[in-house]
Symmetry: C2
Subunit: 232 residues, 2 copies
């Protein structure tokens, strides 16, 4: 017997679900009846069921039983950072400016602060093989006593920039992606002559209480970026 019993239980039930023998909403046999079916103890049965539950196949309702869950057929996982994507990776960056500013109404609203609170603005250009491929701007809540070291920011992704004030384990993040026609200013910055669209990625960082820490906007040349996500 090389395979543990609970794996057998997982495989059996999983295949009954994906074959359609068990449909969403159906109730599974109870733990005790699976115990006798597989001639094993309750903890072993529970181990198998907890795996199926983690995999999203089933859920349990105390006092009632285990039920088949509807599949999530619209979930995708993206591994995004502003420095790498399907087509090109950023091989050089240029720090355009680091300023301490007062936010306008929109930015203050986005960061959930008053317009009198200072904000650090960091502007960068990303290059690949000598060509500018993205313009990147970050807004960070200004904190006294946290020095801004240019060499640390220069090549850092957004989460890395704030890793000295918030644990990366506690960071909540949000991404908004859209397409846009570049304005003249942006065309100059990114050396765009022909008709090229921008892929804009807005990245918002929150602390563990979901209070905003920073907002980042990256304007990618449309011909230099493809984002990639997968299910599972």
């Amino acid at each position: 017997m090389k395979n543990p019993i609970y794996i057998k239980i997982v495989e059996d039930i999983r295949s009954e679900i994906s074959s359609g023998k068990l449909k969403p909403g159906d109730v599974l046999p109870s733990e005790t009846s699976l115990c006798s079916e597989y001639d094993t103890s309750r903890m072993t049965v529970r181990k198998g069921l907890s795996i199926l539950s983690n995999e999203g196949y089933i859920y349990s309702v105390p006092g009632k039983g285990y039920f088949v869950k509807k599949p999530d057929y619209n979930k995708y996982i993206f591994a995004y950072d502003e420095m790498s994507n399907l087509i090109n990776n950023v091989d050089r960056t240029k720090l355009l400016s680091v300023d301490i500013i007062l936010p306008d109404e929109k930015l203050a609203g986005s960061l959930q602060i008053s317009e009198s609170k200072k904000v650090v603005m960091i502007r960068r250009l990303f290059y690949t093989e000598g060509e500018p491929m993205a313009y990147d701007i970050k807004y960070l809540l200004y904190k006294r006593g946290v020095p801004i070291v240019e060499n640390e920011i220069k090549n850092a992704t957004f989460p890395e920039m704030i890793s000295d004030r918030t644990s990366l384990y506690d960071l909540n993040k949000e991404l908004i992606i859209y397409a846009k026609i570049p304005e003249e200013k942006m065309k100059k910055l990114l050396h765009i002559q022909n008709k090229i669209a921008l892929l804009v990625v807005e990245q918002k960082l929150y602390d563990i209480e979901d209070k905003p820490i920073g907002l980042g906007i990256t304007y990618f040349r449309g011909d230099y970026i493809k984002l990639h996500g997968v299910s599972k």
Copy 2:
């Protein structure tokens, strides 16, 4: 005592990790030493550790111990389907055509079939509040005996279209996102007069053995779509 012991263990270790007391690569106390620390049995300790492992905080190496994992600070989850997004939802669709075609070289390569294999091509327009917001095209492997019911595909998302041949539980999916300037044909279809970019989403469906089932490309008007993802 309302909270179970294993929750206490999870919270203690999790906070030691996010506070930095335990750093990535560090080894955790062994199961038996946690047993005596919390005056509980091994199964209870293991329950807590398995939760931390599922949450991505730690991993175990048989014979050695549990170790702190580096955080994944670039993972985002997107709930994508072509009918709904942050700005607008599709409230009406128009089926432009359903054809059985022979794939060109590029399509055949993408679907990993020979150019003599038939493919179903479905073209749709998506509307919101009377305005066309996206042009959608799907390529599906042609299967004899699986009828194409126009009313079923008209308002279906891509996974729903193939749910009669592949279990939605077994479906693997891939998304590629990029920005593009619309060509004349597309501008007419989407009633684009001014300068508006397209957000293009390519969706590829695979069966459980990762053989391609279909390719979908949706061209969204840039002013009608924002995609949204979150960490966690």
